[in-house]
């Protein structure tokens, strides 16, 4: 028993953090889809070989596991990186390996950008410019279609998160359909895990920004962080964050080790991280005051990303319903749709 990241995890985390610090400042998040900054970020990440994180070494990947996925996605969340990394890094390897193995090499080389639409909403996050879309598999069941969208007609929809680049595609070409239940299940689990870890990173960033602000900002002749009301908001935010993060780490371990009861940990991870990000975001906005309620200031980039992720890959309420079913006291009515 050792509940802490391995040295290998820490090293990978440090490398990814460095690239994101250099290549993904808030200006890059603002610049958004199609910008030179985001292209440079994508290129730097590809240079690390992170697309092959979960791909076996025999297939040219790094051959790492979900423990590393957690470390990497916490950093991705911290930077609010505006790229479809959940789909490309976490979901695509298993799906392509099963349905389009010839594309795996290209993925590993960083030459393939993949988007996902698990709930079949018609919207792909960070979707403009993706090569493939993985459609379906919500909840770990049903088929996942691998769609080639490189020649399809794209249209974007406005999103709650201005950087989300929500894209729809018409006339995509079906490459393959993956309906191996184990693969679909694994793809879903990894998507949920990555999103949970991302929410931890986002929460950490929002809390840090806020602590920095309340230490510097003075009102009534004192830093506002010295007022008990402000302290209690932020202490509560930290509590939510600190008790959600280990659950994500444990779920990552359970996925990597193939622990049979991992469904409960995974559902708990997503529900608690969604809630944590929500609570931290509310506290962050409140403690920033009016400056936080502007788009000039950076907070909104992280706040809106966390809103988007809260309702992606199963909301908190959806995952609680999943847990209840597993505990044998399912809901009497209908489970929330997503």
């Amino acid at each position: 028993m050792r509940f802490a990241p391995s040295d290998e995890q820490r090293e990978l985390e440090a490398v990814v953090r460095q690239v994101l610090t250099d290549r993904c400042p808030p200006g890059t998040v603002r610049a958004g889809a199609g910008s030179a900054q985001v292209a440079a970020l994508a290129e730097s990440l590809a240079g690390l070989g992170v697309a092959g994180l979960l791909v076996a070494e025999s297939d040219g990947g790094l051959g790492l596991d979900e423990n590393h996925l957690v470390s990497v996605f916490e950093q991705i969340g911290y930077a609010a990186a505006p790229l479809p990394l959940t789909a490309t890094l976490a979901v695509a390897p298993a799906v392509l390996s099963s349905g389009a193995p010839d594309l795996l090499v290209k993925l590993v080389e960083g030459g393939l950008t993949v988007g996902a639409d698990p709930a079949v909403t018609g919207h792909v996050a960070f979707g403009s410019g993706v090569d493939l879309v993985l459609r379906g598999g919500f909840g770990g069941t049903g088929p996942i279609e691998i769609l080639d969208v490189s020649d399809a007609a794209a249209s974007t929809s406005p999103s709650v998160d201005v950087a989300l680049d929500l894209t729809g595609y018409a006339d995509a070409r079906l490459v393959a359909t993956v309906d191996d239940p184990q693969v679909v299940r694994l793809a879903w689990e990894r998507g949920v895990l990555a999103t949970s870890a991302e929410l931890i990173g986002l929460s950490r960033r929002m809390l840090e920004l806020t602590v920095e602000h309340v230490r510097a900002r003075e009102q009534f002749g004192a830093p506002i962080g010295s007022f008990q009301a402000v302290k209690h908001h932020l202490a509560t935010a930290l509590l939510h964050l600190e008790f959600a993060a280990p659950v994500v780490a444990a779920a990552g371990f359970e996925l990597a080790a193939g622990v049979p009861g991992r469904l409960r940990s995974l559902a708990t991870a997503k529900a608690l991280t969604s809630e944590a990000a929500h609570v931290v975001g509310r506290a962050a906005l409140q403690c920033h005051g009016a400056i936080g309620y502007t788009t000039e200031y950076d907070l909104h980039l992280f706040l809106k990303r966390s809103w988007a992720l809260e309702s992606s890959w199963g909301s908190a309420a959806w995952h609680r319903a999943v847990l209840l079913e597993d505990l044998g006291v399912g809901l009497t009515g209908v489970r929330p749709a997503s």
């Binding site: 509940f3 659950v247 319903a321 006291v329 009497t332």
Partner: protein, 379 residues
């Protein structure tokens, strides 16, 4: 990350589980916070001690099994899982003992620890005073040096001492240097409650049990050997105890995992009366109990690897105390009109309400979290 248990830990778990299955009283004991219940609990705790399960993490010479902190966690989990009785000796074993291990002389350790493990000496906590609750440095009880007798004369009043009326000893802070600043000039004393000049008066708590006591000191004499950790050094010694109190030694995850499992079972038993809204709250509580377990495992890894919890024990305290209330509130709503009847959930609810008050109120804990973990300025 490696969340698999070592073979010897699994073996320890199996041994503990077997012993508990064979020995836990079939019928729940009466509340240990009543005189009659306390006696019944002592009988149980002496049985635990007889087979060396009362202080598993202590050295064997003091009645323990030299179990690792991991094995202690496993034992706690099995203890609650088996439905074993609440420990009425916990203030001594979980709060005072770690402090004696850290600050006590060899003689104090040799004399006090075996008797504590055997439930012969029963320790009450003497922190609070009528004028000092969470502001522990505000105490006014004092100890005056009696050179002639070679010891100290204690006077003042301690109050809200849990199970104080049934205990044999008390640990607490007394002011030894009235001229010094608030946090200085305090000394940690270990006091037999049968010493001349000590009067104990029990009184009832919110839940009706007579589990509290006032302890009055009128020039009560204690020898020099009653000082733990040095004269005027009481504050830092006491902070070691409060860390234990807030952190995982008092509230190991086993207790909440057990309560969450019971809540799930209750939701199942209530059928349609358990609305989806209530079921959702059951899921929340279950998830938080699970989170508390994972947080604890991470915290224990830190401690094992030499990164002490420090102010992070304030995170534990706020989390488990609020979780405990949420678990019980959900249970009471599931029970509906049946919650009028005095039962385990009702009683548990009333007890849970003390969580955010004792061991430093949650308001104080949030200040500590903000100041010491987030680095915000004190006022």
């Amino acid at each position: 990350m490696d969340l698999t248990w070592a073979a010897q830990d699994e073996q320890f778990r199996a041994e503990a589980r077997d012993w508990l299955a064979a020995n836990v009283p079939r019928q729940p004991l009466p509340s240990g916070d009543t005189a009659a219940g306390f006696a019944a609990h002592l009988e149980w705790e002496r049985a635990l001690h007889a087979d060396r399960w009362s202080v598993v993490s202590w050295p064997e010479e003091y009645g323990g099994r030299a179990a690792s902190i991991w094995q202690w966690l496993i034992f706690e989990e099995e203890y609650y899982r088996a439905g074993a009785p609440q420990r009425v000796t916990q203030n001594g074993i979980f709060l005072l003992a770690p402090t004696i291990f850290e600050f006590g002389t060899k003689q104090q350790q040799d004399e006090l620890l075996p008797r504590m493990a055997a439930a012969q000496d029963l320790w009450a906590q003497g922190w609070s005073e009528p004028g000092a609750g969470s502001d522990l440095a505000g105490i006014s009880s004092r100890a005056v040096r009696d050179e002639q007798a070679g010891g100290w004369r204690l006077s003042g009043q301690k109050t809200w001492s849990t199970r104080g009326a049934f205990c044999t000893h008390l640990f607490g802070l007394f002011r030894t240097d009235p001229q010094a600043q608030r946090h200085r000039g305090l000394t940690y004393f270990l006091v037999p409650l049968d010493a001349p000049g000590v009067t104990v008066r029990g009184f009832d708590r919110l839940d009706g049990d007579e589990g509290f006591a006032d302890v009055f000191f009128e020039d009560a004499f204690v020898p020099d050997s009653a000082v733990l950790g040095g004269v005027d050094q009481g504050w830092s010694v006491a902070m070691s105890t409060t860390g234990s109190e807030r952190g995982l030694t008092l509230r190991s995850p086993g207790r909440f995992l057990k309560a969450a499992a019971a809540l799930v079972a209750l939701a199942g038993e209530r059928g349609e009366a358990a609305t989806d809204l209530l079921r959702d709250r059951v899921a929340r509580s279950w998830m938080q109990a699970h989170a508390y377990q994972q947080f604890t495992l991470a915290q224990v890894t830190d401690i094992v690897e030499g990164r002490p919890a420090g102010a992070r024990s304030s995170l534990n305290k706020v989390f488990w105390s609020e979780l405990d209330i949420a678990l019980h509130e959900t249970a009471l709503e599931l029970l509906g009109p049946d919650a009028l009847v005095d039962g385990p959930w009702t009683r548990g609810y009333q007890f849970s309400l003390s969580g955010p008050i004792y061991a430093g109120t949650n308001e104080i804990q949030r200040n500590i979290i903000a100041e010491r973990l987030l680095g915000l300025a004190r006022r």
